[in-house]
C-alpha cells in the first residue's frame, strides 16, 4: 500500500467512524430509557385524564395515581401508568390489615383508553419495589416498558415480562406474546 492509498483509507475510516458514531448517537437517543419516579405520579381524582375503570377499582380510587411516561420532563406524555399506591391505601389501616386482591395497573393513552396492563402494582406491592423503565421511543411514545422487581425474599429480584408497543394493534403486548398468536 503506497502513501496515497494509505491516506485515502485513513480518510475513509475516519468518515465511516464518524458515520458510525453519528448513527449510534441517534440510536442511543431513541433507545434512551427513563426510570419512572413515584414522585412524578399524581392522584387520579385531581387528574384531567378520564380513565374507564372497572368496578373492582371503586374502593381504591383515593389511592389511585397516574404516572406519565414522559420522554423529557417538559414534554407531554402520550401514555400513563394508572396504579393503586398501596402504601397510601394502608396508611390509616391497622398493621395487620390483610392484603387485598387489588386490580392490576393499567397503561392508558392520553384519551384514557387502556393500551396495556402490568402484572404487579407500581411502585410496590406490600413487599418489594418495582423499578419501571421505558424507552425505545416512537416520537413521544415509549416502544418498550421494562419492569424489574427488587425483592428481599429467598428467590431475590426478578423481572416481569417486558411490554412492547404493537403499532398495528395500538397496544402493549408482552414481549414474545404476539409472535405466539
Amino acid at each position: 500500500m503506497n502513501g496515497m492509498q494509505k491516506g485515502v483509507l485513513s480518510v475513509a475510516m475516519l468518515v465511516l467512524g464518524f458515520l458510525g458514531n453519528a448513527g449510534c448517537a441517534i440510536g442511543a437517543q431513541d433507545e434512551a430509557f427513563k426510570t419512572l419516579e413515584p414522585e412524578t405520579c399524581f392522584p387520579l381524582q385531581s387528574s384531567k385524564l378520564s380513565v374507564q375503570l372497572s368496578a373492582g377499582w371503586k374502593d381504591y380510587l383515593p389511592s389511585v395515581r397516574v404516572c406519565p411516561l414522559r420522554r423529557e420532563p417538559d414534554t407531554d406524555a402520550t401514555v400513563y401508568v394508572v396504579s393503586i399506591f398501596v402504601k397510601d391505601y394502608y396508611r390509616d389501616k391497622p398493621a395487620l390489615a390483610p392484603w387485598e386482591d387489588f386490580p392490576k395497573p393499567l397503561v392508558v393513552n392520553d384519551k384514557g383508553e387502556t393500551v396495556g396492563k402490568l402484572e404487579e402494582l407500581y411502585p410496590s406491592e406490600d413487599v418489594g419495589k418495582m423499578i419501571l423503565t421505558f424507552g425505545h421511543w416512537r416520537g413521544h411514545l415509549p416502544g418498550e416498558i421494562r419492569m424489574h422487581i427488587r425483592h428481599p425474599g429467598v428467590a431475590g429480584d426478578y423481572d416481569l415480562p417486558t411490554l412492547i408497543w404493537n403499532a398495528e394493534k395500538k397496544r402493549y403486548d408482552k414481549k414474545g406474546e404476539d409472535q405466539k398468536r
Binding site: 394502608y90 395487620l96 406490600d126 413487599v127 425483592h151 428481599p152 425474599g153
Partner: protein
C-alpha cells in the same frame, strides 16, 4: 425414633435441623430427610428438587393439602429451584395453619409491611440470608413466608414421602 408418634418425630427432626443448620436450607432439609431415609445423600436445593420430582418415593402435594398431611406426621419437602442461583428448600412443619406475613422489613431503606395473605401450613426454613424475616422459621412462619411473593410462591412445589405401604 421409629416407635415415636409420627408428628412428634417430624417436629423433633425439624427442630434439630433448625438448630444444627441455621445457615443452609439444603443441609437442614437433608438432616430431616435422613431421619426417614438414612442413606439419603446430601444435595443442594437445585439438585434435590428435581430428585424429589422424579423419585417414586415422593409424591407431589398441593398447597391446600399440606396441613392435613403434615399433621398426620407425613414428611413434606418443598422448594423452588433457581437456575441463576441456589434455589431454596424447606420442610413443612406440624401444627395448625397460620396467617402469612404480619412483620416488617426494610428494603432500600424503606420499611415495608408483609400483609397477611391467608392461612398457610407452617414451615421449617433456614438460610444464610437474613435480609428477609420470612426466611427463618422453626414453625413460627408459613410456607409462603420465605418467598414473600405470590408470583414466586405460585412456582414452589411440595412433595410428600410415600409411606412403606405405598400411600
Amino acid at each position: 425414633m421409629s416407635n415415636k408418634d409420627p408428628v412428634k418425630k417430624l417436629k423433633e427432626a425439624a427442630d434439630e435441623a433448625y438448630k444444627l443448620y441455621p445457615n443452609s436450607c439444603s443441609h437442614s432439609a437433608w438432616y430431616v430427610i435422613k431421619q426417614y431415609i438414612p442413606d439419603q445423600a446430601y444435595s443442594p436445593a437445585n439438585v434435590l428438587l428435581p430428585h424429589l420430582a422424579h423419585n417414586s418415593r415422593w409424591k407431589r402435594v398441593v398447597v391446600n393439602e399440606l396441613e392435613k398431611y403434615v399433621n398426620e406426621g407425613v414428611l413434606i419437602v418443598g422448594g423452588l429451584a433457581d437456575p441463576k442461583g441456589n434455589g431454596h428448600v424447606v420442610v413443612v412443619y406440624p401444627g395448625k395453619a397460620k396467617m402469612s406475613g404480619g412483620y416488617g422489613a426494610s428494603i432500600d431503606g424503606e420499611t415495608q409491611q408483609a400483609r397477611p395473605r391467608g392461612p398457610f401450613a407452617r414451615v421449617m426454613s433456614t438460610s444464610i440470608s437474613r435480609n428477609w424475616p420470612g426466611t427463618m422459621s422453626n414453625g413460627d412462619k408459613t410456607v409462603w413466608d420465605p418467598w414473600g411473593s405470590d408470583k414466586k410462591f405460585s412456582k414452589v412445589t411440595f412433595y410428600r414421602l410415600v409411606s412403606s405401604d405405598g400411600k
